[in-house]
Symmetry: C2
Subunit: 294 residues, 2 copies
């Protein structure tokens, strides 16, 4: 589908992508271009790439360039690699926010390079290429935001590649994507971190809390174990949408506080009921039960 | 260990307990005493009990009585069954809050009946006896709060039974338990419900949100699918501790809001870092990665 794929930034997502491309034979050659020599060695050791270099100029060999570094570093990286990009190449990224990138990147690109933004809805609270898995994208939605100046066949080729990874490509407007992920991903990360912090903020000794930790705490705070650096950057690139989601969350939480203060059974029942209705609608229960409280 | 165990309230927890006792041969006979005939039929069909009745007087046959109905119904049930309790019997419950029960129940009991409160830290967002599993308690912490008037050997016998279920009995003061579970279980349920509600509160169509749902949203809001009735009751019995936890949570969330509004990379990094530190300390990461965002 593509001859040579260059993956710039070889962490969990970049590494998993390389692994999947190699295991499924979807590219003749996968080049890794991480920032650090240590990552290069790790990526080679887990067979996430065929070969690699720290030199951005290596993108000149690629007909598909995948940007998978921390999202805030993408614009300067594109600026630095632009002179080396081959005419006819497709450039994509895996950044968690799309609006600002789709505004900032196109003017940086040479003629004949097609930008098709991307965001695979898959990941893990464990970062780094050592956590990479070839099956990470299987069954995942994979958002694509093609630049209006890109040839339609570039988006089509990338979509085909994504289908071959076992994922489901979906074309979406960047700003709609950002509003949606603010509520479905970014706000949950903020809330999970605050919830973990609050668990430790009381007078109960950590040893006692640790004894009582069960499925409910584990699942609500699992993503609080994610990289603080990555989530700082994501928050900075999708600030307004997250703040809008946060306001709705504070309102929902305020209803709980009022119901608790008033000792109102009816208000508590409605508040829990509203949450259950949305949850059941957005993510219908699976059959497999999982360990949990009360 | 016990000859006849009566389980009053045969839902997820009561049913799983009956199943585990039967499969492991830990009691000669397990009687189920649900509130509704339909539940009795279901409990028999999934072999959670040997036999059953809707008549509370049947507790007279039991040397161990387990109370597993909704927590607010426990005091009136105990009042109703008290005349039928056999001298020498052990009475326990599986309620999610312990302080108020351990104050209210003892005066209701006849001489010679020993109250040993309990709370297994296991469960599921799926309720009801049809979701019961014999292995539900395996590896779980199981809190015991013996009444000061109970014979020590009653708590010891119950602890031994719990160990035989594969769980880990831990004796704890009721109020310490309640403070801890407010933060480790009850507050997460409130937050999960508010988070699910907020996801649906914006302008993004539900179909788009559904496409983008991935591991982060699923795990943070999983317990929002729990029974609103059960969580209403738990909130009412542990109101003050939950409100105290909520205040700490609001403070942690307020730091995120301030950091977002100020576009402060440092404040965002610290806030995510504080959450990660507590989470990593209370529930160290497992090796198995799970599907998730970014």
């Amino acid at each position: 589908m593509f001859d040579t794929v260059a993956i710039v930034g070889v962490g969990l997502i970049g590494g998993s992508l390389g692994m999947a491309l190699r295991e499924r034979g979807l590219a003749r050659r996968v080049i890794g271009i991480p920032r650090r020599a240590e990552t290069l060695a790790e990526a080679l050791s887990v067979r996430a790439i065929d070969d690699g270099t720290l030199d951005l100029a290596a993108v000149s060999a690629a007909d598909l360039v995948v940007l998978a570094p921390p999202v805030l570093t993408i614009p300067p990286l594109v600026e630095a690699m632009a002179p080396h990009l081959r005419p006819g190449a497709v450039l994509t990224d895996v950044g968690s926010t799309k609006g600002s990138l789709m505004r900032v990147l196109p003017p940086l690109l040479p003629e004949g390079v097609d930008l098709v933004g991307g965001h695979p809805m898959a990941g893990s609270e464990r970062g780094g290429v050592l956590a990479a898995r070839a099956d990470l994208f299987e069954g995942a939605t994979y958002i694509l935001t093609p630049d209006s100046r890109a040839r339609p066949e570039s988006a089509a080729r990338l979509a085909e590649l994504i289908r071959s990874l076992g994922a489901v490509p979906v074309v979406m407007e960047p700003d709609l994507h950002d509003d949606a992920v603010a509520r479905i991903s970014h706000l949950p990360h903020v809330v999970a971190a605050a919830l973990a912090e609050a668990a430790g903020a009381g007078a109960v000794p950590a040893d006692v809390l640790r004894l009582l930790v069960a499925g409910g705490f584990k699942s609500t705070t699992r993503i609080a174990a994610s990289s603080p650096e990555m989530w700082r950057d994501i928050c900075l690139t999708n600030r307004e949408a997250i703040l809008a989601g946060l306001s709705d969350f504070e309102a929902a939480l305020g209803a709980f506080r009022a119901a608790l203060e008033a000792e109102s059974p009816d208000a508590l029942l409605s508040a829990f009921g509203r949450g259950k209705t949305v949850r059941d609608s957005l993510a219908p229960p699976t059959t497999a039960p999982t360990g949990d409280l009360p």
